[in-house]
């Protein structure tokens, strides 16, 4: 559990140490960077690279970001490029989309994706569908980003996972980073992409440090949208997840490894367009599949993975039905014991894996 005690907040020294490091341009060895700082770096590099990129949202400028993700950016780039908005999601999301239509490259931050529901018409009808409806005349190069899914004790209206809702819509790209490397590479790719991209971050992951490999420290480090990553090789079962649950799956894999079960853990990274080929290849190797997600089960990401596996060549390689591990089908309760049991835990993942393997 130690690796995923998500609420470690790094002191300021970590950040200034980082800044010192970049400034002196010493040969980068592997570096400990939190997910928050990785997103911050990614946005900073893209703001510097392209004049047309700007950030808008509630508290992003003078407050340094509601979760401090945009720390230091307003001080560096000023009022023109980092814009504080009033609490008007539908209004400012529409303004961001309009600015994108007119040729700028906005990053529109939702304080959490729960509030994006206020603006969902602008995301879907004004952003996602426009390139198609216009016959290719009007691109909308916008990024919608913010924390998604369950947090800690914020209860029902602030804990919903929107991966399935946004993943449903043609015209949108949807990514869901897990670690710092994912966060940095995907936000940069999203900003450079000419399509509307939804970046589903995770508040509990913001403070978690990960080793950032040397290639990820380059200013042109990009992770391609639409490509999953195999985080851990295995032979007995394929475990597919996105966002924070990837960490839980790796923990479960470590526990099961001691019992001789080797899990192949796949980090989806992108929800839409889904990299089903990587999952298929893995299932054809291991013959078993478990999907893990924080969202509700009905019409969820796991449901889509299972359906696509059935429709493709990998179905014939399955030795058992695929199993989904999901959030509980209830609005998120408040009490800690109830909340803990409403999201997938390591023990739930282990249980599902053993059930699939008939152990």
């Amino acid at each position: 559990m130690a690796a995923v005690s998500g609420l470690m907040r790094r002191p300021l020294e970590q950040v200034s140490g980082l800044l010192r490091r970049r400034f002196h341009r010493t040969t980068p060895a592997a570096l400990q960077v939190t997910v928050r700082d990785a997103i911050n770096q990614g946005m900073d590099e893209e703001l510097e690279r392209d004049e047309k990129v700007f950030l808008l949202g509630e508290e992003v400028a003078q407050y340094d970001g509601a979760y401090k993700v945009s720390r230091g950016l307003w001080k560096k780039y000023g009022d023109k490029r980092i814009i504080d908005t009033p609490i008007s999601e539908m209004g400012f999301a529409g303004i961001a989309v309009g600015a994108a239509m007119a040729g700028l490259r906005p990053i529109c931050e939702f304080m959490t994706f729960n509030f994006s529901m206020q603006a969902i018409d602008q995301v879907i009808n004004s952003a996602a569908k426009t390139y198609y409806m216009s016959g290719g005349l009007q691109p909308v190069p916008i990024v919608f980003r913010g924390p998604n899914g369950a947090s800690a004790g914020v209860a029902a209206q602030h804990s919903q996972c929107f991966a399935a809702w946004y993943g449903h819509c043609p015209g949108l790209k949807v990514v869901s980073p897990w670690n710092s490397e994912d966060a940095k590479g995907l936000i940069k790719s999203a900003i450079r992409d000419n399509n509307p991209v939804v970046v589903l971050e995770n508040e509990l992951m913001y403070g978690v440090p990960f080793e950032l490999p040397s290639e990820a420290q380059s200013k042109d480090f990009l992770i391609p949208i639409g490509k999953a990553k195999i985080e851990r090789q295995g032979t007995h079962i394929t475990v597919v997840a996105h966002s924070r649950p990837v960490g839980h799956c790796l923990e479960a894999a470590t526990v099961l490894s001691k019992e001789g079960i080797e899990c192949e853990v796949i980090n989806m990274r992108t929800i839409r367009p889904m990299d089903i080929e990587t999952i298929e290849a893995s299932v054809m190797k291991t013959n078993h599949l478990v999907t893990v997600e924080g969202g509700w089960p009905q019409f969820g990401v796991g449901a889509e993975v299972c359906a696509r596996i059935m429709e493709g060549p990998a179905f014939n390689f399955l030795d058992a039905p695929a199993v989904r591990v999901t959030g509980a089908d209830v609005p998120m309760p408040y009490a800690k014991i109830l909340e803990d049991n409403s999201i997938p835990q390591v023990k739930d993942i282990i249980f599902a894996i053993k059930k699939t393997l008939n152990i």
Binding site: P86, S88, G94, I95, G98, A100, T130, L137
Partner: protein, 284 residues
């Protein structure tokens, strides 16, 4: 409209002389005429647009031709719709031609315009051909959106549609105005909506941000007094749409007079370009 046509024909009538006398005649008639236009109702403004305007022969012919073309195109679209050759929705602006032609006359081609679904007239005035518009309406590949958009989703240079969701185009327009300000090229964005849409909450969110950030956005309410089948008295607690911007100055313009619309647009565009922030126009 009739007054307009009478005036134009007065100017033109003099020019219908046999060719041999044309050169001589050019000394005998004016190339332009002065018209009196209706004074606009003002909200939070000390002065409004001028009450007289000069119309040149060239402009007169141009506006007349454009309005006639829009009228004929809309009536034809109506016919095609009733024959079920145009499917889905078909929102027509016959009767409102003075709005699209007058607005275009008041701005530059480098300015921007966005409207809702009653967009065929604007699609034409912003530069697309009747052929492209009718092809799009009838679902043909030669349509401006390759047949994939239809009546409500036509786009052109500096023209952002054509938007189906009532009111959604207003924050979009404020965003385009933000891009105008960001790029610093002195361009403005005309953001249109109807009397029905004027009651949408997101419009007030857009008013707030546009005023806060002094965006060069001209909010324009095309008031044809009916939102679908509901009259304005049954839909709005206040039918003074030009005042609904509250802290945003506004003017009510005679939307049936192309010259009145033109002068008001020039006035509003000058206001925005001077950096004073947004302004609201109601075209009635």
């Amino acid at each position: 409209m009739r007054k307009m046509l009478a005036a134009v024909s007065r100017v033109l009538g003099v020019a219908q002389k046999p060719a041999s006398r044309v050169l001589v005649a050019s000394r005998n008639f004016a190339n332009d005429a002065t018209f009196e236009i209706k004074k606009c109702d003002l909200h939070r403004l000390e002065e409004g647009p001028p009450v007289t305007t000069v119309l040149t022969r060239e402009d007169g012919l141009k506006y007349y031709r454009m309005m006639q073309t829009v009228r004929r195109m809309e009536l034809k679209a109506d016919q095609l719709y009733k024959q079920k050759i145009i499917r889905g929705f078909c929102h027509l602006c016959d009767g409102q031609e003075a709005c699209c032609v007058g607005l275009e006359a008041g701005i530059n081609p480098t300015d921007h315009l966005i409207t809702a679904y009653r967009a065929h007239g604007f699609t034409f005035t912003r530069g697309l051909s009747v052929r492209e518009i009718l092809a799009e309406l009838t679902g043909r590949r030669g349509g401006c959106a390759k047949g994939k958009g239809g009546s409500m989703h036509m786009y052109a240079k500096n023209f952002y549609g054509g938007n189906g969701i009532v009111g959604a185009q207003v924050p979009l327009g404020a965003g385009i105005a933000l891009a105008c300000k960001y790029n610093g090229k002195d361009e403005v964005c005309l953001t249109l909506y109807g009397d029905g849409a004027a009651n949408q909450g997101q419009i007030f969110e857009a008013y707030n941000m546009a005023a806060l950030w002094k965006l060069p956005c001209i909010f324009i309410c095309e008031n044809n007094r009916y939102g679908m089948g509901t009259s304005v008295e049954r839909a709005a607690a206040s039918t003074d749409y030009y005042k609904r911007g509250d802290f945003i100055p506004g003017l009510r313009v005679d939307g049936m007079d192309v010259l009145c619309v033109r002068e008001a647009t020039r006035f509003a565009a000058a206001y925005c370009r001077s950096g004073k922030g947004p302004i609201l126009m109601e075209l009635q």
